[in-house]
């Protein structure tokens, strides 16, 4: 087995109502130092984590939306969003933030690594992962 594992972070919870979304994001950030192949999957209320326009100023809570935008810099290669979950919540890709990615060695660039996937594609993502983190 190669040293690099494919990590998949499974996010199924809305932000702010509980700490799970934020603390799982902290794992992703720390995990970047380990040079694994990292993807995130947003399902169910987890898709709300990527909705743009968040303003937490009146709650005195940390707004971690800007952190998602930097995930490309932390080595995250894919942010997959479950299509059915998104549609069930009346959302489209336009409602979601964009996350850019660049490979510093090859200078390969991707404008937006937030990708909407159907169940079949998602099954493929789960299958090819080596480790699934749930929070």
């Amino acid at each position: 087995m190669s040293d690099v594992k494919k990590f998949l972070y499974l996010n199924r919870r809305a932000p702010y109502g509980t700490i799970y979304a934020w603390e799982s994001l902290e794992v992703v950030l720390i995990g970047a130092a380990f040079d694994q192949e990292v993807s995130l999957m947003f399902v169910d209320d987890g898709v709300f984590q990527l909705v743009k326009g968040s303003d937490t100023s009146e709650l005195d809570m940390k707004n971690f939306m800007p952190t998602y935008r930097t995930l490309g810099d932390y080595g995250v290669r894919h942010l997959y969003v479950d299509k059915a979950s998104l549609e069930a919540r009346g959302l489209t890709q336009d409602d979601l933030i964009e996350v850019a990615w660049e490979d510093w060695e090859t200078e390969e660039e991707v404008d937006n690594i937030v990708e909407i996937v159907d169940s079949g594609q998602a099954i493929g993502v789960f299958e090819e992962s080596d480790v699934v983190f749930s929070f």
């Binding site: 499974l10 399902v43 169940s119 099954i123 789960f126 080596d130 699934v132 749930s134 929070f135």
Partner: protein
């Protein structure tokens, strides 16, 4: 080889079971633990979810089932009872574990 999925939520409370069936492929093993064991009961409004999910194997954690007073004869046909040692075996036998909380 395939994955082991754990479901710890009652299907009457959260859609974890529905998700697991939607996101699991052929050959998947699905283990009900904690409040998830209610999903293994026959004759409920959601029993068909399990009964109609072909190509997957379902297991239920005995100690959790027993704690909730659900007799084995209330299980959906084909759901296999395991103890914690059996849970460990399922983890070992499958490629990885996905916790659908």
């Amino acid at each position: 080889m395939a994955d082991l999925y754990t479901v710890n939520k009652s299907p009457f409370e959260k859609n974890s079971l529905e998700d697991v069936i939607r996101f699991s492929g052929e050959g998947a093993s699905i283990l009900f633990i904690e409040d998830g064991v209610y999903g293994a009961m026959a004759g409920t409004a959601v029993s068909d979810l399990v009964a109609n999910a072909t190509g997957r194997k379902f297991y239920v954690l005995g100690p959790d089932l027993k704690a909730r007073g659900i007799a084995e004869d209330r299980l959906i046909d084909g759901v296999e009872l395991v103890d914690y040692a059996g849970f460990v075996d399922l983890v070992v036998e499958n490629d990885k574990v996905q916790a659908w909380l």
